[in-house]
């Protein structure tokens, strides 16, 4: 029998790769355990152990839903829709110029204007609409206007980011063709760029509107009007059977808006 000493059996990875992987996983686990300990330092485990009982207690209070409460929800629902729609409108109106200033191929100045536009986008995107609402309620007082402006400010970053990426991806030959006819800067934008980004633009706006409907349902928690306001008052009076009704209304609204947005996006794209 001949046994060759260097028959290599196939291995999934080399031993060095294995080592690298295991050290990587080791550090991840260690970091997670460390974070877990830090996080649960102040957790009162008696409350956690009590949770199933609390859950069944809340569950029994939530059911049956108080359907009569639905009649008081139509006005807040209308307000919520308005917050989302008007907020999206404000966001779109401001986002369009910001997107053109931020896109590398349309910005008037790469070193001065573009970073500024990107800063606007980043600021708007990193702050959640609930935090915007919190600020605006403190500044311009509780009510629908704070909600609308909060949704608007939050939408600017999202719409402008996706739109400027769409502008940067356009087909340059059409721009050049327009320029060859002697078109001015605005004419190039109007005839060469806008037709190319318009489907993306409608898709992005409707997508954002859909997200805004979701977000505007809870803005009332901090005083910005809409369904969240009713949710807040039901929660603070511990009227859990009303909370159920509000949750169901929110769920229905979200499902319908998602359906509408999917329909519209399929129509324009």
């Amino acid at each position: 029998m001949i046994t060759s000493a260097n028959t290599k059996t196939w291995q999934f990875r080399t031993s060095k790769q294995y080592m690298l992987r295991w050290t990587g996983w080791f550090w991840l686990v260690a970091l997670t355990v460390f974070c877990w300990n830090l996080m649960t330092e102040d957790t009162i485990w008696a409350f956690v152990a009590d949770a199933p009982r609390q859950a069944s207690d809340i569950g029994s209070r939530m059911l049956p839903p108080r359907w009569g409460y639905l009649n008081q929800l139509w006005q807040p629902l209308w307000d919520t829709l308005n917050i989302a729609t008007l907020g999206t409108l404000i966001g779109v109106i401001i986002a369009i110029p910001v997107a053109f200033l931020a896109a590398g191929n349309t910005t008037p100045s790469r070193h001065f204007v573009r970073p500024l536009a990107l800063l606007i986008i980043v600021t708007s995107r990193s702050i959640n609409s609930l935090i915007w609402a919190l600020l605006l309620v403190a500044i311009i007082g509780p009510g629908l206007l704070a909600g609308i402006v909060a949704i608007g400010l939050r939408s600017i970053g999202f719409i402008a980011k996706l739109l400027y990426e769409a502008i940067e991806e356009i087909d340059v030959s059409q721009v050049e063709a327009m320029r060859a006819t002697g078109a001015s800067g605005t004419q190039v934008i109007d005839y060469a760029i806008i037709p190319q980004i318009l489907p993306a633009f409608w898709g992005i706006s409707v997508f954002r509107w859909d997200i805004n409907i979701r977000e505007s349902t809870i803005l009332g928690l901090v005083g910005a009007g809409g369904l969240g306001l009713q949710l807040q008052s039901s929660l603070s009076t511990l009227a859990w059977n009303q909370v159920t009704v509000i949750f169901l209304v929110i769920l229905a609204t979200v499902v319908v808006s998602e359906w509408v947005s999917a329909k519209v996006r399929r129509a324009v794209l």
Partner: protein, 269 residues
């Protein structure tokens, strides 16, 4: 022949979307009516807004000259809660969503398992973090533990859905090749599926880490721990310089997480 051509037609720009004029006018008119109704239903106390402008200006000043020091202990505690919550919930979310994602992929799971896993995903995706946080805070008490559970729950829906779609998009030739060697289900998953979806899974997890941090700064408003609670207190006390400091820290961390995660994703893929 130098006679004028009678039917000299000038080019008219065709409408970009909604080619049918009837549809175009109906939608325009409907939109206009909606706008009038919506704007008229928004009650604005302009006097209050005018008063608020001064406060808004103060906030901008606070944002430009942030005060990190006087509330640093609270900010630090909030940040530690937010960051630990983010990491632990992402890890827990990934661990739970991998089996659910496998179960929700139609090419790997039998129909009953598929249905169960898909309904878990739908349940987790239909409510937003804030609403889940309200319920979990009521059950588990205030603090980061409720926040951890909220973010884990939300991560499950997000990650399993995208993972399942990825698995379904897998190259079926590789799966069949492994199956043809007589491999059992585990071996198929390990050798054919895992190697195809792993880069995407790492990318998705990093993306979710980013989202979880953003959310962790918000759910504190309803009592689920994190820097949101600190921010809420700062705004309620009109301490705009401290609030500005917190917002700047949030924006900075979001930027760092976003850039490093996009860097790692490019490196992995």
């Amino acid at each position: 022949m130098t006679g004028a051509i009678p039917s000299l037609r000038t080019w008219k720009r065709p409408p970009l979307i909604l080619k049918d004029p009837r549809w175009r006018w109906t939608i325009l008119l409907g939109g206009a009516i909606y706008l009038v109704l919506a704007i008229s239903s928004v009650e604005v106390n302009w006097f209050r807004v005018y008063e608020g402008l001064e406060r808004g200006w103060k906030f901008i000043q606070g944002f430009l000259s942030p005060d990190f020091s006087s509330r640093w202990r609270d900010i630090q505690a909030g940040l530690i809660e937010s960051l630990t919550m983010t990491l632990t919930s992402t890890v827990a979310g990934v661990l739970i969503s991998v089996p659910i994602g496998l179960g929700a992929a139609r090419n790997l799971a039998p129909l009953p398992v598929y249905t169960i896993c898909r309904s878990i995903i739908t349940l987790s995706r239909s409510f937003q973090e804030i609403i889940i946080a309200i319920l979990l805070v009521a059950m588990f008490g205030f603090g980061p533990f409720a926040g951890f559970l909220t973010l884990t729950f939300a991560s499950i829906g997000f990650l399993s859905k995208l993972l399942a779609e990825d698995i379904e998009d897998c190259d079926s030739a590789q799966i069949e090749a492994i199956r043809a060697t007589g491999a059992d289900w585990w071996q198929v998953v390990n050798y054919a599926v895992q190697s195809q979806v792993m880069p995407r899974l790492i990318g998705l997890s990093l993306y979710r880490l980013d989202i979880n941090f953003r959310e962790s700064s918000v759910i504190g408003i309803v009592g689920a721990g994190g820097v949101g609670a600190t921010l809420n207190t700062a705004i309620d006390r009109y301490e705009y310089d401290s609030a500005g400091a917190i917002l700047i820290i949030i924006i900075a961390i979001v930027l760092v997480v976003e850039y490093s995660s996009s860097y790692i994703r490019r490196w992995v893929q």
